[in-house]
């Protein structure tokens, strides 16, 4: 028998140090400035990269081990879902509208985040963030892939899933998420980390993934819960990285504080606008709802964000400038956005509908101060128009905000009966905005935002020249199948027919 050898096991800290810090080297024939040319122009001062502590201390070998396990679990469930006609177990095919928005607007954002982190990992001079960004870049591409794989099963049966890439590039409501990521990717590496790592991951993804995915489970959608929670298991690490990055910047030099504060103000509001889509998915598109957007905001926005900003106060950081306005808007945004999506539903690659009496009861209970007063009367009016055979479609186009790219459908803070609209002039051109905060963001960097691609002007340019039918073709929207009211749609009739077949012969 061999004598057992006593191998000394490395501590987590030592292992992390060997497999991370020791991967770095001092350049000998190139200067550090030439190797990392984007590390200083944003004005962030770093004195000691060694101070960067990754609290998860995850090394590449452990990373691959756990990620492989997550993938095996994920694909086992996705296979089972397809084999057992899982798509017929969802509560109602209305639910699919939320998934279509997710696929068209959010999944491409995962891919954009992948590109951004791959770049940030290359541009940071410290090895701690290099390794963490590399892992996150791989996570993000995994998220995009698993989401597309999971939802491809629905594409076999339902409309609106077939052209998400074209719709990401060209349709109007996805450009809010697209422009958010484009804006982040065209910023420097430190701002990118505040945009995605901190604002999006730490402050906002809980609102997207946690109650919405729990909602997917509640609505019988096993495949979405699976990709959602599989992605979310990486998010905990991403949030930690975002928080670590902001602490690192604030601790390195007091001169970093005002720069970081400005980015927090900007990226909180940019992210909050992206969440307008999510608020509508949660309040209107889940047939069975776990919690309202307001309740989710109270837990993950007010309480969690509040704890975070309390903590950051010791560095001289205050809550983002739009914080109070956001808190007020939470009682209105899902209603205002669903009304917008409904009236322009000839141009959406998903279905909308007039909320049922039961839905409206729920909304009025969840929004006691706003729904009955401001939104129920509008839905009742729209319902009457529909019953009279003249459904409300708005063939006029709203002004688009030059910053967040949403149509200007939101109302003034303190006055929910007046549309909020701002404009500014720059080099002889007039630009439109949905809010003071988006206008302020533009004024900080006008040369950046005047270059923004906006979806509505594309309709009026050559070769479309305002031709709606040609526009639909260009955005890969199947008129009469992908768009319009859920009542009478292919999705509705197919789902009812197939579901009936599961319980009878």
């Amino acid at each position: 028998m061999d004598t057992p050898v006593n191998k000394k096991k490395l501590s987590l800290k030592e292992k992390y140090s060997y497999l991370t810090r020791d991967l770095a080297w001092e350049p000998s024939y190139q200067s550090k400035e030439d190797l990392f040319p984007y590390a200083t122009y944003e004005g962030i001062k770093v004195h000691d990269w060694e101070k960067w502590e990754d609290p998860f201390r995850l090394t590449m070998d452990a990373y691959w081990k756990y990620q492989a396990e997550k993938e095996r679990k994920f694909y086992a469930i996705i296979d089972a879902f397809a084999q057992n006609n899982g798509h017929l177990k969802i509560t109602d095919a209305r639910y699919l509208s939320a998934l279509k928005i997710f696929l068209q607007a959010i999944s491409p954002g995962e891919y954009a985040a992948h590109k951004g982190f791959a770049r940030a990992g290359r541009e940071f001079p410290g090895v701690g963030p290099q390794v963490a960004c590399q892992m996150q870049a791989i996570d993000e591409i995994r998220h995009a892939q698993t989401q597309i794989h999971a939802m491809s099963n629905y594409n076999k049966f339902y409309s609106g899933f077939h052209a998400f890439a074209d719709q990401r590039d060209r349709i109007w409501y996805t450009s809010v998420a697209r422009s958010f990521f484009d804006d982040a990717m065209s910023a420097g590496p430190f701002e990118f980390m505040i945009a995605i790592g901190f604002s999006f991951e730490y402050v906002l993804t809980n609102l997207l993934f946690v109650p919405f995915m729990s909602g997917a489970a509640y609505n019988g959608d096993m495949s979405t819960v699976t990709f959602g929670f599989s992605a979310q298991s990486d998010e905990a690490r991403h949030m930690t990285l975002g928080l670590e990055c902001i602490k690192f910047m604030l601790e390195q030099d007091p001169a970093n504080v005002p720069i970081v504060q400005k980015w927090i103000d900007k990226w909180f509001w940019r992210g909050f606008r992206v969440l307008g889509l999510v608020s509508t998915m949660m309040d209107y598109m889940l047939p069975k709802r776990v919690m309202s957007w307001r309740e989710a905001w109270n837990i993950y926005g007010e309480e969690n964000g509040g704890a975070l900003f309390n903590d950051l106060a010791r560095y001289g950081i205050r809550p983002p400038k739009g914080w109070a306005d956001a808190g007020e808007a939470v009682d209105h945004m899902s209603h205002q956005f669903m009304l917008a999506l409904y009236q322009w539903n000839f141009g959406t690659a998903f279905h909308t509908w007039i909320p049922s009496d039961e839905d409206m009861e729920w909304l009025s209970k969840k929004y006691p101060d706003t729904f009955d007063k401001y939104y129920r009367p509008r839905w009742e009016h729209i319902k009457k128009m529909d019953e009279a055979g003249t459904p409300f479609n708005n063939f006029g186009l709203a002004k688009l905000c030059q910053t967040c790219q949403l149509p200007t459908v939101f109302t003034e803070p303190g006055d929910p009966s007046t549309l909020c609209h701002r404009e500014t002039e720059y080099k002889g051109e007039t630009y439109q905005f949905c809010s003071d905060h988006c206008c302020d963001i533009f004024n900080e960097e006008p040369e950046k935002y005047i270059q923004a691609w906006l979806p509505m002007p594309a309709l009026f340019q050559d070769p479309l020249n305002g031709d709606l039918e040609a526009w639909m073709k260009w955005v890969s929207l199947e008129n009469g199948s992908d768009n319009g009211d859920y009542q009478g749609s292919h999705d509705q009739t197919s789902f009812q027919k197939w579901r009936a077949m599961t319980t009878s012969n």
């Binding site: 995850l58 969690n304 704890a307």
Partner: protein, 88 residues
């Protein structure tokens, strides 16, 4: 006082982990939500490897938590024996 939290997928792997967390954190509140369990605690929450090992009857590496983790809040400190979230 600020709340820290951690959430896990509801499954057989996390059930004993959640029991271990409840044992080590008497002030924690456990919320059962569809497909997930969220645990809130005032200011600090500690997850101990030893307590989990007693619950599951085998050796446990705290990094295994990541497989079923959904989200968390607070500053994280991790070593071989403990996984701590805090707002302190």
């Amino acid at each position: 006082m600020s709340t820290v939290f951690i959430a896990f997928q509801t499954n057989e792997e996390t059930r004993p982990i959640i029991e271990a967390i409840e044992l080590d954190n008497p002030s924690a509140t456990v919320h059962q939500e569809p497909a997930m369990v969220k645990i809130d605690a005032p200011d600090e929450l500690v997850i101990r490897r030893e307590t989990i090992e007693e619950q599951i009857g085998r050796e446990y590496d705290l990094q295994e938590l990541q497989v079923n983790l959904i989200t968390m809040s607070g500053h994280l400190t991790e070593d071989e024996d403990t996984f701590t979230l805090s707002w302190k």
